[in-house]
Point group: C2
Chain length 309, copies 2
DNA sequence: GTGGATACATAAGCCCGACTTATGTCTTTG
DNA sequence: CAAAGACATAAGTCGGGCTTATGTATCCAC
């Protein structure tokens, strides 16, 4: 019978690329990994890795074994989760990585629902790219990420997604500005009319920046950027001060803000929020439960902001 | 992480019922099993077995773990099969238990199709009850069994079935007898007309015996039995000699036989032939392949006998 | 009810195997 | 061409799992 621990080593090698990194991830030394791979190869009867320069690469047989390892290790984790649920212990730790707005709005709602449940959460705030990378490296169990209609998210292989909600992108104006444009709060605005306004945006490292560029581009202009901040509450404060206009997802709005007029777009852009998990963890009841809680929280948050605004 | 070898021990305990039998099945001693169960219990954090008289019984947590173990071990076996297929080695041993007629007709056809394939077969001829018990004990990987319309087969839990073919039960008469009854070869006969004939049947240990009792009972009589033999070719030889009449599935007919007139029944009885495998082995490509081959063989055999008779 | 048999648990000791440190070989890079 | 990086091999240590031996509880027969 194939040894599961060795399969796990191979799986990690596939994830981390080098023996040294694999060893570190598994709290081992490089020779230990090397030896175990040699034993696995003997067990399998076929080479599972081959030299590629000075590193190793998986053979097709190795890929095959990794695919099986995902299933086996996934179900082992599911078994442990089931056990934890059954004994009611507070084990069942789920590590979540979420982008800022979700970490601020959805996750507190989940925590509230959690009560004294048997689920323990560990939250890290990370931008989608980092969250997905952490997911791949098994440093996190569930990633909460987003994609824009004008900038779709692409997911790494071996992942499973579920959609939590659609978050509309809104235009934030100073109320006087809205008056000058002749639109009332909540009325749709054609972005083309903002072509000459000074814009307030996140820095170019944020995916929101690219979304704004594309959205304005689709409206036929390149925004002239007056201020940059990756903190949406800074942007909103600047809009309130009359410094310019901003485009931002509804969930990113701070709870309390100064004088602001929010408007949907004539050509709507939305941000879709997803949960992403590794394929192997699909069976874990604690993760399934968390996804359910997130969906409920998303439904609530969506309803609240919709009725409020 | 739960240790898979310990899960396997628990799974075997579930199958064999006692520590001693489990130890024997795994080529271990009883204390080894006992110790590993203790360690598993420590790992799991909940009792997985409890004393029941002087033997052990699985707790709900234990049942849960066994269910997961089926998945894990099933996929590990699948991984090994995939590996065997990939390296083209002649490993990929599938142990089959089949009842006599199937072992005589279907299995040779499978063997012929197999050619120099990467699949190695190991065949044991067993009656359905024994075959299913062997399957449960993991002494065999695939059971080829049958059930009669008048005597349905019930399958143990945790098994998966697929139907191979329907095998009609025929009445075998001496040609002179058929003449006296005024029916031609192949014409249906009402069993009630055979109420006073001497019957030739298998022994009461064969499920065919019970089938004959029920079928005759449905026709309104109890057969008077003149000869018993569990070997169908003996029965056919006796029918040819004019010793009496017999009821037997078409597949059970010997290839060459003396003067015989075969007739379907007015109220047809059929024997359905199934393959049965443990749920955990559903992923093994070698077993899937064998089932496919059996289905093809069954289609051929069914067609041949239909057109010939 | 008592003795024997059966079934599992515990104790003690042995041995294999997996890990670590140390060293070697090959590749890449400056 | 030297030096660093990456993996393999060698040698030694240590833990874990197996065995044999012994203990304890349950079931059955007489």
């Amino acid at each position: 019978m194939l040894d599961v621990r060795r399969l796990r080593i191979l799986q990690h090698l596939d994830t981390y690329g080098t023996v040294a990194a694999t060893a570190e991830a598994l709290h081992l030394t490089a020779p230990a990994v090397s030896q175990q791979l040699a034993v696995l190869e003997r067990e399998a009867g076929v080479p599972v890795v081959e030299k590629q320069g000075r590193t190793l690469r998986l053979t097709p047989a190795g890929e095959l074994l990794v695919a099986h390892a995902e299933v086996v290790l996934g179900d082992l984790a599911a078994a442990e989760s089931d056990l934890a649920a059954l004994r009611g212990g507070q084990h069942g730790l789920v590590r979540v990585a979420a982008f800022a707005s979700a970490a601020r709005t959805l996750m507190p709602a989940v925590w509230r629902r959690l009560a004294d449940d048997s689920l323990t959460l560990q939250l890290v705030e990370q931008e989608p790219e980092d969250a997905l990378e952490a997911l791949r490296k098994r440093e996190t169990d569930l990633a909460v990420v987003h994609g824009y209609t004008v900038l779709p998210r692409d997911f790494p292989a071996g992942c499973e997604q579920s959609t939590l909600m659609d978050d509309p992108v809104l235009l934030a104006l100073h109320p006087d500005h809205a008056d000058r444009l002749g639109v009332r709060e909540g009325e749709p605005v054609d972005l083309a009319r903002l072509a000459d306004s000074p814009w307030l945006t996140p820095g170019p490292e944020a995916s929101c920046y690219e979304m704004i560029q594309r959205t304005c581009g689709a409206a036929g202009f390149v925004p002239s950027i007056r201020a940059r901040s990756s903190d949406f509450s800074v942007l909103i404060a600047l809009v309130s001060a009359g410094a310019g206009v901003a485009l931002l997802p509804r969930l990113a709005l701070p709870a309390a803000s100064g004088p602001i007029s929010l408007h949907p777009l004539v050509r709507p852009v939305t941000r879709t929020i997803f949960t992403v998990s590794r394929a192997g963890t699909a069976r874990r009841p604690d993760i399934r439960r968390l996804v359910t809680l997130l969906q409920e929280a998303a439904a609530d948050v969506g309803r609240l902001t919709t009725t409020t605004s």
